[in-house]
Symmetry: C2
Subunit: 333 residues, 2 copies
């Protein structure tokens, strides 16, 4: 079978500091649209690619204990929604829609183990499986409910609330009757909002919004934001640590100086990754799909068209350019 | 009834930076050795006073959210073992031995609610109720078993292991079959030990002692030690945060820069104070008393004689002068 063109976004070299568009190249690869004889792999046509903050970590040379790094000259890997073109694996067949780990290219041959889930519900936008119905949705759900242990009427603060995860945590918190304030650009019916880049004294701002303190801080940012939040936590507060996007581009991370508040206020701070929580996925879908269909939970996406626009979309995450979940459309079906 | 002399250690003024002996004065007060008519208070003769790291926090002017501060010109407060001289409260009678919050003076009139427990077992040294059988013992027990959730064969690292709490955590961890390394001066049968003040590269030292990483870090120190430990934690590690003694004297605490490891390795970091865990005290005594009597758990004390030597003993905690639990003897019975 003849080879076809396979446009790819490859990492040029390991990145130090903030990533730039020029750290990636769009190149023309070639691929044979066939699963090799005897292979269990699955050939995917990639439709929607997900831009996620953790990808910056993989652009560094340092191996963060098993998280690994990208390989310069090779396509980025990331989550995406894909259509099965051909399958060597009995669980998948041509035409199936799936989401999971794929590569930043038009077509990818992947081991079946990289596919996270087959997509069963298509009455919602397919791109949602990179966001609200994918890893970020599960992250918000598991991080808030499992790690955050919310109780009705608590005070919830969310950083990076214009992002893929933060916007959902806020909405989930509202559903549980919490008072919610976030650092964000687009207001989603929360009780307050401000942009931390415009606040010179975050401690004072937090005291204004949370005169009684914060019960749950859903941490996406790290650094100075965390330091100010620690001063404003309540006794027995919880800090699910989902990400620290403000720190990923720094060669020397900002020092956090107020950790003794963990003791004074008996705070639990817990890092988590959604990878260990995918067993909750079907429970999560049962929870979230009705809310989406009834319009009780909305999801803001920032969609760019074309793989070649992927690098700009990805680096925009780290300057906060995106409003909502950043998605790259490779093909619509 | 005539007044008698009541020697007291009073705080001269709020402290900034490392405390000095001269931040406290030994003064001669007066007290009437009688519970006032109609009062429920208890008159105590103080025997052993406990020097504890948290006391530095109370010497600062800043109110750490309800923890409060000492009052300049008034005696320090702290934990101690006392004998009841006279009682206005039905739960206590003359001659009872008790431990709880008292003042740095010879005799104290205290509300009965400040007494934590009546002392039932006197076949062990009475001073132990400021240490292994008191707040530090409960702290080590609850912090290690309840917050640390140890599993057999795990790798445990303890900072400030020559102190009142750290020496016990190490011994409790050995009882559970852990591999234990500590920062300490006196070795108590652990698997390794080093003095962090003599190690220029703590990260490298930790990698040498823990080539496979640390499962439980019992945090007493904070700052640079915590930063190095974060680089060496294993997946799903736990950090019970008991204290951060290295930070209490700093006007600007050291910044902790490696917190993103909480995410990479899904680490739980949890501040706790023993105050919320005293319901476990009788269970704790059942556990620890047989071990003490059989010599399976030993306890190192650093005892100074005389209330007037209390200030030197207390400030010695912050330079690491003490070897073992620091106790001040006011009277032996």
């Amino acid at each position: 079978m003849a080879e076809v063109r396979n446009k790819q976004v490859v990492l040029r070299d390991y990145v130090v500091g903030f990533p730039k568009e020029s750290d990636m190249n769009t190149v023309e690869g070639r691929i044979t649209l066939k699963v090799p004889e005897g292979s269990n792999d699955v050939l995917l046509k990639n439709l929607y690619l997900s831009c996620d903050p953790y990808m910056r970590i993989l652009m560094s040379k340092i191996d963060h204990e098993g998280i690994g790094s990208y390989t310069p000259g090779s396509p980025l890997t990331g989550l995406g929604v894909s259509k099965v073109k051909e399958s060597g694996h009995p669980d998948y067949k041509k035409g199936d829609l799936v989401w999971g780990m794929t590569k930043w290219e038009e077509f990818s041959l992947v081991p079946a183990t990289q596919i996270h889930f087959k997509i069963e519900h298509t009455d919602v936008p397919l791109s949602y499986y990179t966001g609200i119905l994918g890893m970020p949705g599960m992250t918000a759900y598991a991080g808030f409910f499992e790690v955050g242990s919310p109780k009705k009427g608590e005070n919830v603060f969310i950083s990076a609330a214009s992002g893929a995860v933060g916007q959902l945590v806020g909405q989930f918190a509202k559903l549980t009757g919490s008072y919610v304030v976030d650092l964000l650009k687009n207001k989603l019916g929360f009780d307050g909002a401000f942009n931390y880049k415009e606040e010179s004294d975050l401690d004072a701002t937090l005291k204004r919004y949370f005169p009684e303190g914060i019960d749950i801080y859903f941490e996406n940012v790290g650094g100075k934001t965390l330091d100010a939040v620690l001063l404003n936590m309540r006794f027995h507060g919880r800090i699910p640590v989902c990400g620290m996007i403000s720190q990923y581009n720094l060669t020397q991370p900002e020092g956090v100086t107020n950790l003794a508040n963990l003791i004074f206020k008996q705070i639990r701070m817990e890092g988590f990754t959604v990878v260990k929580l995918y067993h909750l996925y079907s429970k999560f879908l049962e929870f979230v799909l009705p809310h989406i269909r009834e319009g009780k939970v909305v999801y803001v996406e920032d969609i760019v068209e074309g793989l070649e626009n992927g690098p700009a979309a990805l680096v925009g995450l780290y300057t906060g350019r995106n409003v909502g979940k950043q998605v790259v459309v490779v093909a619509r079906d």
